[in-house]
Symmetry: D3
Subunit: 248 residues, 6 copies
Amino acid sequence: MRILMINPNTSVLMTERMAESASHSLAPDVDLVAMTAPHGMPYISSRAEALIAGATTLEMIAAHQDGMDAVVIAAFGDPGLVAAREQFDLPITAMAEAAMHTACMLGHRFAIVTFTQVMTAWYEDAVALAGLQARCTGVRVPDVGFRSIDHVQGELEEALIELCCRAVTDDKADTIILAGAPLTGFAAKVADRVPVPLIDPLDAAVGQAALLARLRTRPARAGRFARPPSKLATGLPPALGAWIEHRT
Amino acid sequence: MRILMINPNTSVLMTERMAESASHSLAPDVDLVAMTAPHGMPYISSRAEALIAGATTLEMIAAHQDGMDAVVIAAFGDPGLVAAREQFDLPITAMAEAAMHTACMLGHRFAIVTFTQVMTAWYEDAVALAGLQARCTGVRVPDVGFRSIDHVQGELEEALIELCCRAVTDDKADTIILAGAPLTGFAAKVADRVPVPLIDPLDAAVGQAALLARLRTRPARAGRFARPPSKLATGLPPALGAWIEHRT
Amino acid sequence: MRILMINPNTSVLMTERMAESASHSLAPDVDLVAMTAPHGMPYISSRAEALIAGATTLEMIAAHQDGMDAVVIAAFGDPGLVAAREQFDLPITAMAEAAMHTACMLGHRFAIVTFTQVMTAWYEDAVALAGLQARCTGVRVPDVGFRSIDHVQGELEEALIELCCRAVTDDKADTIILAGAPLTGFAAKVADRVPVPLIDPLDAAVGQAALLARLRTRPARAGRFARPPSKLATGLPPALGAWIEHRT
Amino acid sequence: MRILMINPNTSVLMTERMAESASHSLAPDVDLVAMTAPHGMPYISSRAEALIAGATTLEMIAAHQDGMDAVVIAAFGDPGLVAAREQFDLPITAMAEAAMHTACMLGHRFAIVTFTQVMTAWYEDAVALAGLQARCTGVRVPDVGFRSIDHVQGELEEALIELCCRAVTDDKADTIILAGAPLTGFAAKVADRVPVPLIDPLDAAVGQAALLARLRTRPARAGRFARPPSKLATGLPPALGAWIEHRT
Amino acid sequence: MRILMINPNTSVLMTERMAESASHSLAPDVDLVAMTAPHGMPYISSRAEALIAGATTLEMIAAHQDGMDAVVIAAFGDPGLVAAREQFDLPITAMAEAAMHTACMLGHRFAIVTFTQVMTAWYEDAVALAGLQARCTGVRVPDVGFRSIDHVQGELEEALIELCCRAVTDDKADTIILAGAPLTGFAAKVADRVPVPLIDPLDAAVGQAALLARLRTRPARAGRFARPPSKLATGLPPALGAWIEHRT
Amino acid sequence: MRILMINPNTSVLMTERMAESASHSLAPDVDLVAMTAPHGMPYISSRAEALIAGATTLEMIAAHQDGMDAVVIAAFGDPGLVAAREQFDLPITAMAEAAMHTACMLGHRFAIVTFTQVMTAWYEDAVALAGLQARCTGVRVPDVGFRSIDHVQGELEEALIELCCRAVTDDKADTIILAGAPLTGFAAKVADRVPVPLIDPLDAAVGQAALLARLRTRPARAGRFARPPSKLATGLPPALGAWIEHRT
């Protein structure tokens, strides 16, 4: 089984780290193929950036879907997820949605803990889109800042663990989602120091993509998720234009 | 007062019709400046197309916002609305959101009547985004098709009026929103044949943009709608890249 | 365009102040006609008082609607709004509802800041009636009291500004509604000291009334907002009794 | 135990019928004292009429509360209920609210069946006010009309029974509330012909008033339901004005 | 009228105390028959224990329903309530549900105050089951522990009163439910020290059971609460097996 | 990886069929161990039966959890799921919950199609428990009956396919869950005849159990899903009593 992992941001280093981290919880028959966005921002921290990255996600899936069994959008906040699920015929998961549904099977209410305030609006939108507000205790962010997004796990380790513990005692969270691509792998590292299950969103998204592929459900041919009819498209990236115009 | 009207689709004919239609309900001190998308699709009928058009909307606002008092996104479904409101400092309205909030002040529950099934998923998303599901009786669509999107008002006139009447009697709608840019101007034409107020979304969006400009509220400098910090951006359209990188 | 502004309370001073404040954001073609309640309480601070004032509002509209294009109920909490909208044929807005829908087009979540605890139950009811609970971060009130309702803006200026700032940082409000007729005009005065848009409910209500009048929608002749059939009415104020009995 | 039953409408015949009907399910130690509105409409069929009747309800409770253990507002739709509960110190129930909460203890979802379309908006508001929308399958009304409100039970008997049965089979209602004062007593008459429990709202309201009186809870002295501070009141009915000004 | 009070726990002492406490607010024509669970736990503090106690409740009703007019499940959290209401033909109430619906007729929002953290998950489930989340300000628990569940009222008296007062001032609760069978009778004892009505859940449940019996509604013969068809049952307690197999 | 599959009903034939059906979508490293309930009913069709089966589920997990990596409760409606997840330390999934969360990653709204009306109340409860009502288009049931639960797939094949198609066209379902253990394996058989993805709940539940086991999250030691403290338990099945009393 081949799963396409799309990093809708431009950081190759982040793509490599994520691919490495995800490899630890794969079933034995799953191969992961990782891709980095050819343009855009090194990471997303606003909904405008998410919108732009969403369009890039469509472009990347159009270009690389051949021979794949499923797609993972490797950014928390899920840029382009619904649009991609509507346009393309293979199963597609993304980090926020997959983490939330996975969390719902380990407890009743999940908290989202992340590393910077600028992400929270975007993450709250993801909770609302899934209709899971009643199961989310909220998004918690440390009061302290950090110097480098590449070392944020180390810099904020104590602050994040303390936040997780407060999400349990104060917010009554049953599980905790460690949100944001830069926290990939952090859950495994600190699991012993937080008294409830920690969800790694990338592990969840890759696991759910594999599960969906394994179910071998057919693509929709009617309704909200059937591929739209062909449409004239001007000035789009070639693979995406071709897919929208039904030339591929 | 100058209001920028953005058509995120590529049809110049549609832009001209909308500008003409909107001119009838402007206050005496309002000028409307209309723009058509330089690339994309002639009209939107899927969420993938809406996502692409949303990115184009950001690009167009970045390029044309100077000297404007407010912006109207002239597509029902509101591509790019939240992202644009977050990125830019002037008031921004869009057709679905403005029509719904306007309808809420003329009755308790509104129906959305449109001309083609392919739009409904996108429109339902707009209702949910506004948190107004409890005030919406649903989206109604004729059973019959049409030949040309340019003449859809004439072709479907009887079918649409009948749908409006059924939305009142069967769904208990208090007002009706005639959704989709191709229905611009239709409300005024058929008002006498439907027993409740009909909302023209473009009139509502332009009116609300003028109202917001008149209130002279200040732009957000904190929270979810403050302009995000500057960010490195690679390969974006020039005006948008410059705005995101805070070079303008 | 002529708009009837109804103060459902008995304070003529308040009526005059409100009319003056509203005059600053009118479109050039709008005239405002202000009326004060002939009986009742000098201001409303309970739902029983609101109920009584609501009946007075009906009485005043019945007496003064001739020649008007729209009505504004100039009390936050909107006494009699739904009943009036149902009974009468011209557009009717009120301060709480108009402020909330306007706020929803400037940000996602609004806070309501007011000057006394006794109002909060009534204001929360208005949020619920509009179905906008999910977009409201709550009603905030200063801990400190005040001596005179006529000078409450000056007495509580610092306390109210601090509350607004806390609504932004603690409650994540995107905009703030300054609620209660005695705060009319306060938003413009302190806009520079709060980092998000401030909504003046009277400006919003008058602006929305003008917008609805400009749309020239027809009155409902079916459904929840059609004028009810004539009904025998005993012992009511003359103009209201005549309207309910369809004698006018 | 003495319970004051207030008919906020002007029909003495209706008051007498209701008092007689309610007498059949009283506990042995309960006396019912019935009063008819001195002005207003013979029955309520709009929210404007409900608003006016609500103010009359306050006036009647102010005038007749002495020596009573509880009050029942004997109109479905509950005119003045929340305002009265806030102003006065004894337990107060009303027909819609009491019927709904009672129904919730006999099944999960209740239907409301009534005899005329004009009531439905008002009844839906009562469901929403109680926050019980998720437990209500909707308001059903016969397609056929009736000649006299005094004989509506006989005229519509078959139509109402059929509606009840359809509420069970089509809407999956577990219980049915027979709404509107003119249907008082109908539930007992037709119970054998509908396969789920039928709720008589007046029986429920009187029963709940007796139950609340029996619990002997203290009146609120803080929060939303504490009696408001004294307030200057001009031109109100004497007993109500005196109560609001704390002269009684 | 005979009401069967079921204690689904094994503590005979608790059953006796509850029967004694409930006797104070009975109507003159009501007899209470109390039963204690023959197996299980002395009290419930988890949902697994509630599930087991729920099955025991079914068993006890099957064994003791003959000659009864109604049943009260005398545990807050209502083990087995919905299942019992579905299986059996007489009215059945339980402490959490009855307390909540009763509270809703004394104010708008209720708080739940209890004595130990371990109960809260179960109590929140009961609020959600009733669909009353919007009317509940939350479950509050003292920070301090207690030595003996038999003397918890005395040990925690001051802490519980302080919690009640904070539920009023901080959470804006209009009424307070004192939850958990061990707090039976506490409301009457401390009513003077809390400024809003206190609900004793057992009094509410017994009162509501008597009210339902007095209404003499018929049992459901269709829908979700009709007695299920007979079913082969292996290895169940005799009376319950006989009832499920329709042998009684 | 070893997964314990619990059939909480007494039919060994059903257990065998389910184990065989689930074997087709297992990852290569997963072993399934199937168990049948030692007492109870051959299948569940009421909430009372579900309650009894839930207690049996606890008993079976207590007896057979040693050496397992995860548990699947193999009944749609999920008897005992929340209680089991709270009591035991290994991941536990069940058919309704797993099917719903899986469906949410293949489309926005799912329908539930099942074979008999008696199940629907129980299934709706499962949707509500998950908080996914807004994503469920409803439960659909054929109008026609069937002779044998063992051959229901064959008897109702055409009726069920037609229901699925109507769920797509009329209810706008994006995916369909084929609910009820007797429909296990049906999705794969008829996938080509329904134009949207069909979810087999057992495949989903087993897949999700394997996914959770693969994530290796730690069991909760705090909050709603931590194992409760030891409790005296009288007259329970031995393994369950021992687990509750912390003797194992």
